[in-house]
Amino acid sequence: MIRKDAQTILSVKNLTANINDTPILKGVNLEVKEGEVHAIMGRNGSGKSTFSKVLAGHPAYEVTGGEIIYKGVNLLEKEPDERALSGIFLAFQYPLEIPGVSNLEFLRVAYNAKQKYLGLEEIDVFEFEDLVEDKLDIVKMDPAFLQRSLNEGFSGGEKKRNEILQMALLEPSLAILDETDSGLDIDALRIVANGVNQLATPYTASLVITHYQRLLDYIEPDFVHVMYDGRIITSGGKELALELEDKGYDFLDELNQKVLVEVGG
């Protein structure tokens, strides 16, 4: 859904970040425009998930340099909830289980926080039930899940579908999917990917973080970036994902060597 007149949604320059004084991100650059789907691939530990958490504002990560401009605003000055309200959505790799909070109530509170932010009226339980039932179909979720505690006792697939349901309600401008495909069987993967595709518009963008090329058969990326040791070392079209699948991640070691030589490292 690439448009010629598309605005830049996200611009990341030389981003570096630490956790517990250990550098994880070592200079990430990325530009995402409206309507685009970007995939970030890489080995475990390459910094993919850290990147997604830094974008969402996780307090455990310390940004040590660089900038993140989201819709023209310096994102690093914003609290996690402000980021969420302004349209950034992170679908978690491991969604948390929160006993005692009903899924329905949680979704309503989150939805109303957004309504309030947008200056719109908050909606009551009954109106909300109607609204959420329409959205359930996107992820083929059983209404019974709404009455259960948030993610408590959900299977891996159910948790991920619940993340996409939240995304459907919050209608983000930038959806970040952190390894949403890992641990899913092919049926669940299809449902989740379909949900993401249905929610894509020419004015929103997605950042799909994944370890496996398989997901990209269902969510077709416009750009594929490869992360290695806290940097994006190469970018390309969807053929890059296939190449990576073909050659395996070990091929990155050579590639990284080449990049370092090119930049004179």
């Binding site: 504002g57 996780h58 969420a84 006993p99 005692g100 926080a113």
Partner: protein, 458 residues
């Protein structure tokens, strides 16, 4: 009819350690009993026996295993005098009244029955809800089987209560009687501005065979402003509640403790369960500078069901202690217990839960869990879930968890647009809600939910 017992306490016989108790005991013995004439002799004996038990006992110290973490020295700094009668108006009671139990309410102020504040117009026939003094003759004669007859009644604070027994709250359901109306027992303390006071509420609940009772037992204080804030008017509530469930009866019990921030409470709830009876308790502890609740359940027949749920909220420098003992002695018993603590600032929580499953309690199904949420680095919990099993064909579990509000949980909620305050609120509400949602009436649930939010988020 009133009487004075013969004094048992003789100051010269009492050691220094016992001197503190002695002072209170002497005041207890001077209490005039208000009771119908047929049983004066029996009550007198009961009180004398209890006074002996007090004289024989010492105050517990942290050297006693069961009091290891509960230091009573802040209680002992005060010289308590028996509280005197204080007049209140219905207006003062506003914050303590529930519409669902507006006509089934029994009120005691400073341990003294307040008929003008009570309203029992919705109590159907076959049920007695009132004070000891007005109990009718038939039940009076049966009283000797129950009052002061629970096991463990020689425990020092319980004995102290009995030694000063002058009146009490009685709820008595005759055979096969049930009502949907919850009965509200309200014990209010009005702290004196002049000197520390002690009052000793006493409750007896009898559920005869096949009856069903729903009861809300509540302790509170009338103070200027929010009673949770310490105002340096110490008082001591030494409460004893005895509950008897006869064959196949059911008691749903809610116990709310919200003494003032200066108040001390030592409370005993002793329950006897005959065969096929079902007892459930939801206790919520919010108040008191220091409290100890001893909850004792004695199974006296086969196939009883016992459910104990509790929530304790502590802040400031509060000390809150719940000790429960469930003694099973017959087959096919079921017990389920969940007690939660939310502890903030410098407060200290103590939980001890003993479930005893001896050899003749085969086919028992016992579960116990204590979960604790600590909101500050200085908050502390001492927890001791304890199963004693010698039966070999039983299903039992027990455990304790201690946690904080996890950063990851807060982040997850914030990443969905909730601000930090709302995220914390939601998590604490969820933790407390599991217990509060069990409360039998809507208005109580609503009020306590607000109160928990006020206590844990400000």
């Amino acid at each position: 009819m009133t009487l004075t017992t013969n004094l048992i306490f003789k100051p010269e016989e009492i050691s220094l350690k016992g001197a503190y108790l002695g002072k209170i005991l002497r005041q207890c013995e001077e209490q005039k009993t208000v009771f119908n004439v047929e049983l004066t002799g029996w009550i007198k004996e009961l009180r004398q026996k209890a006074a002996y038990d007090v004289v024989k006992s010492d105050l517990p110290t942290t050297k006693d295993e069961e009091w290891r973490f509960t230091d009573l020295s802040s209680l002992l700094e005060n010289e308590f005098k028996i509280a005197s009668e204080t007049k209140l108006s219905l207006f003062d009671l506003e914050a303590f009244i529930y519409p669902e139990a507006a006509q089934s309410r029994l009120v005691f102020v400073n341990g003294i029955y307040a008929p003008k504040l009570s309203n029992i117009s919705a109590i159907p026939e076959g049920i007695y809800v009132g004070n000891l003094e007005n109990l009718d003759l038939t039940n009076s004669q049966k009283l000797v089987k129950y009052l002061g007859q629970q096991e463990g009644s020689n425990e020092v604070f319980t004995a102290l209560n009995t030694s000063g027994l002058k009146d009490g709250a009685i709820i008595w359901f005759n055979k096969n009687i049930e009502t949907k109306t919850p009965i509200h027992l309200l014990f209010l303390s009005v702290p004196s501005f002049d000197h520390p006071t002690i009052d000793q509420p006493r409750t007896l609940i009898v559920a005869e065979a096949n009856s069903q009772i729903e009861i809300i037992e509540q302790y509170g204080a009338i103070t200027l402003g929010c009673s949770d804030r310490p105002q340096n008017h110490p008082y001591f509530t030494n409460a004893v509640t005895e509950i008897f469930l006869e064959d196949n009866s059911q008691v749903k019990h809610t116990r709310i403790q919200r003494e003032s921030g200066d108040g001390f409470q030592i409370g005993k709830t002793a329950i006897s369960q005959a065969r096929n009876s079902r007892y459930s308790c939801v206790e919520v502890n919010l108040g008191a500078k220091l409290f100890r609740h001893n909850l004792e359940v004695n199974q006296q027949g086969e196939q009883t069901e016992t459910t104990l749920n509790g929530l304790t909220i502590l802040g400031g420098r509060q000390v809150g202690d719940t000790h429960s003992v469930i003694s099973l002695n017959h087959p096919h018993g079921t017990t389920n217990q969940l007690h939660k603590y939310i502890i903030d600032e410098f407060a200290q929580g103590i939980f001890s839960g003993k479930v005893s499953v001896p050899h003749n309690a085969q086919l028992t199904n016992a579960n116990q869990l204590n979960r604790n949420l600590l909101l500050s680095p200085k908050a502390r919990i001492q927890t001791k879930p304890e199963l004693q099993i010698t039966a070999d064909n039983v299903k039992c579990s027990h455990g304790a968890t201690v946690s904080q509000l996890e950063d990851d949980e807060i982040f997850y909620l914030r990443s969905r647009g909730l601000n930090e305050y709302d995220a914390r609120h939601l998590l604490i509400d969820a933790f407390a809600g599991e217990i509060l949602d069990l409360l039998p009436i809507e208005s109580l649930n609503h009020r306590l939910t607000q109160c928990v939010a006020c206590r844990t988020l400000e």
